[in-house]
């Protein structure tokens, strides 16, 4: 476990209405660290992310960010602390243009004044988006949408980047380029990353540590190599044997 934890999740349970999805979850993300959360579909990975970033109330436990308790605060307040959540399925604003979508990433007051520079940086990272800046988000291809979603997340300097399945529904070539971007951010060691991914190949590329979530519980945390070697874990939780 890293000494200087940026995000600490302690005994968190949460769910929808009467249904508890995540039970007693424990995880830590250190400053500059990339933690990958893996596990089968429908076992609570996205639900846990939603609870961490304030979209969903906790039913038990606590979440600390930089030592400060943040559970109970609304999602819109947590962005001020530098927490950026790139949700599953992108959640772009379909009738805003690419540029407007990106600008929304700089909505918090501090980020808004630097929006010009941030926009140039994102366009430098994704040159294709620059050509499409005036186009409505709904007209983009799946890969372009993912780029807008990630670019929008990078419009303010995030301290913690929470990314939910960035490879979902994309062609393998595009997944490669998405992971190059994530690896680039991870390598800078200035932004902590909490990543949900089902495809273990990509997990190994970027993760410092991996936690496995099964049936709403964190059942294992370790180095990617340790988990990849554990054939039983790989098969039952990740659905595929390492080749």
């Amino acid at each position: 476990m890293p000494a200087d934890a940026l995000l600490e999740v302690r005994g968190v349970s949460c769910g929808y209405g009467e249904t508890t999805i995540v039970r007693n979850a424990e995880l830590t993300v250190g400053a500059g660290e990339t933690l990958c959360l893996v596990g089968p579909n429908g076992h609570g990975k996205s639900t846990l992310l939603r609870a961490i970033t304030g979209l969903l109330p906790l039913s038990a436990g606590e979440v600390r960010f930089g030592g400060e308790r943040i559970d109970g605060r609304a999602a819109e307040q947590l962005t001020e602390l530098g927490i950026v959540h790139i949700p599953q399925g992108d959640h772009l604003f379909p009738d805003l243009t690419v540029e407007e979508n990106l600008l929304m990433g700089a909505f918090p007051k501090g980020a808004w004044k630097d929006r010009g520079t941030a926009l140039d940086e994102v366009f430098a990272r994704f040159p294709k988006l620059k050509d499409r800046r005036r186009q409505r988000a709904r007209t983009l291809s799946g890969g372009e949408r993912r780029m807008v979603a990630i670019g929008r997340g990078l419009m303010r300097q995030p301290r913690l980047l929470v990314i939910d399945e960035p490879s979902l529904g994309l062609a393998p070539v595009i997944v490669e380029s998405v992971y190059e971007i994530i690896a680039g951010v991870a390598a800078q060691r200035t932004t902590s990353i909490l990543l949900v991914e089902e495809n273990f190949t990509h997990v190994e590329e970027v993760a410092d540590r991996v936690s496995v979530l099964e049936m709403g519980r964190i059942v294992r945390t370790g180095l990617p190599a340790e988990l990849a070697d554990d054939a039983a874990v790989t098969q039952s939780y990740l659905g595929a044997l390492p080749s």
Partner: protein
């Protein structure tokens, strides 16, 4: 020639006033998914504020417009906090239907309060400015109409600029399209919602002053504008701003043309007939998309 001119003049004046009321309703529906039945009351309140400032207090009509804007802004924020905010995110309720009823209740309360305080009599409100330009034969264009149209267009243009250019404007459109994503961007939705209803109501309030100078201030002065606004909003395609503004002028044109070529008695029945026809052919309205986030 003089027919066409007078139709044009009424189209622009009517369309601008309808556009103002419909703009607010569209904004509220597009962003909050509330069909705000209290918008008619904002027109009525705007009319009474105009009357109070101009006739009772004898102050300038410009002050009346500003006062109506401020009063209905506050009332709109209050209406949102009281009748809409508590219902957001409630499980097991049909939000659109319930808020339709709660805002209707607010409308009832407001018109009965007006009846209590001001009585049922219609109150005359003086023109904003007197005089007119003679255009052609019997057609003249009152300065009043020019001023109202100019203010209405300026307000509509101002809102379009605000929604397209400013930080909060883009955020308001974002909220309408994906609430969760907007929250993740840091948009304070608890502040945005009352703000939207405040601004929308304030525009209706200004339209109320205009209508009161054309007709009267009375407790029921908001009823017909509400009906027209509902029609404009549905005709334009629920939630579509451009659609609403186009529809406002289209409806103004139909009403004006029917009054000139048929008779004023037949203007409204003809208008409604045309609308029924258009909606049968195009149920999503002029610019509406079928059941999706718009704006």
């Amino acid at each position: 020639m003089s027919d066409i001119l007078s139709i044009l003049v009424s189209t622009v004046v009517l369309g601008s006033i309808y556009g103002l009321v419909a703009l607010g309703m569209t904004l509220i529906y597009g962003i909050l998914r509330v069909l705000d039945m209290s918008q008619g009351s904002m027109v009525m309140v705007g009319g009474f504020v105009g009357w109070a400032v101009m006739t009772s207090a004898g102050l300038s009509p410009w002050l009346a417009i500003v006062a109506a804007f401020a009063a209905t802004f506050a009332l709109g924020v209050l209406t949102q906090v009281v009748s809409v905010q508590p219902l957001i995110g409630r499980r097991g309720t049909d939000f659109e239907m319930i808020t339709f009823i709660t805002t209707f209740a607010v409308a009832m309360v407001l018109s009965n309060l007006a009846l209590q305080f001001f009585g049922p009599r219609q109150k005359n409100v003086p023109e904003l400015v007197g005089g007119s330009i003679h255009l052609y034969e019997s057609v003249s264009l009152p300065y009043q109409s020019i001023v109202m149209t100019a203010i209405a267009l300026a307000l509509m243009l101002g809102f379009a600029l605000f929604l397209n250019r400013s930080r909060y404007g883009i955020a308001i459109r974002a909220v309408a399209q994906d609430l969760d994503a907007a929250r993740l961007m840091g948009v304070p939705i608890k502040r945005v919602f009352p703000l939207v209803m405040g601004f929308a109501s304030a525009i209706a309030g200004v339209a109320g002053v205009f209508l009161a100078t054309q007709y009267f201030a009375s407790p029921t002065a908001g009823d017909q504008p509400l009906l027209i606004a509902l029609i404009v909003v549905i005709f334009g395609g629920l939630g579509s701003l451009q659609g609403a503004i186009v529809a406002a002028y289209a409806i103004g044109l139909i009403q004006a043309a029917a009054s000139v070529y048929v008779s004023t008695t037949w203007a409204l029945p003809i208008l409604y007939g045309v609308i029924v026809l258009v909606l049968i052919i195009r149920p999503q309205g002029i610019a509406g998309r079928s059941l999706e986030a718009r704006l």
